[in-house]
Symmetry: C2
């Protein structure tokens, strides 16, 4: 079970823009900080602008910034916007061949779990995950470790707003 790279980048672009406050940021800066290709990020920024999460400013010193207060941007809403589908099991798509599609109770349980997933993310706004400029100016040393998955983790260290 994975989120798409597109969703991952969307969360990170918004976090970067939010952390910069009113300062305009550029795709090049985001690309450098996260070590991801500019081409991928351009598509992400395009969608987030179209959907009213970012606003862009053209010109030599152009860039983009959040289009609304970070407290109003819920993480679950971003994931729902950017994931291409939530077809967790075959019968969530059309054209499946299962003979018990109407009576089966598996989709109900999966739907409920998916709702919990999104609801948990929606408890957090972008404001809850923003970092200080310091974090981006003095990046973490390279690490071989990972950040998850850790089942039973207790979420971000600040209280949800």
């Amino acid at each position: 079970m994975q989120l798409t790279t597109f969703t991952d980048y969307a969360l990170r672009v918004l976090m970067f823009a939010g952390s910069a406050g009113e300062k305009l940021v550029t795709v090049e800066e985001v690309s450098r900080v996260y070590g991801v290709s500019r081409a991928h990020l351009v598509k992400v920024v395009h969608l987030l602008t179209k959907e009213g999460y970012l606003k862009g400013f053209r010109g030599r010193s152009g860039g983009f910034t959040l289009a609304k207060p970070p407290e109003e941007i819920r993480l679950g809403a971003i994931v729902r916007l950017t994931e291409p589908d939530f077809n967790m099991v075959e019968c969530f798509s059309t054209g499946n061949k299962c003979m018990i599609i109407r009576s089966c109770l598996i989709p109900n349980a999966i739907n409920e779990a998916l709702t919990s997933f999104i609801a948990t993310l929606n408890r957090y706004s972008l404001a809850d995950i923003m970092l200080s400029e310091y974090n981006f100016m003095y990046p973490d040393p390279p690490t071989e470790g990972t950040r998850g998955p850790i089942f039973g983790a207790t979420g971000v260290s600040r209280s949800p707003k």
Copy 2:
């Protein structure tokens, strides 16, 4: 965001075996009911047997059955067993290039959402999703519809055991 076909089939194999009670079921029967290939199902049955969820009986009238009471088989445990990874975002894997891997708060929120997802599934045992023999004998008519995803769905209609 999707579960693998392997997980989907594992849940369905267990549901079919559980619904049959003490009667032995075969891969051929499962294949027919769900319209999925025998080859895929053999691998699923092999893992579920190895992990103590199914037990097989060889011979001309052989087949398999649940190896433990359905009340003791939790859906979240099955999903954790069968999903190859839960690398929801880049930094859940090794070798990522993000420069803020230690300070970033996104993985914490994602971990918490993933924990909610599994915990919700674990509220249900196999006994909660078992069907009657009738459902398998008189299958639902073909449908063009789907069963989800429906955010806000309230789960299976029976109370979790």
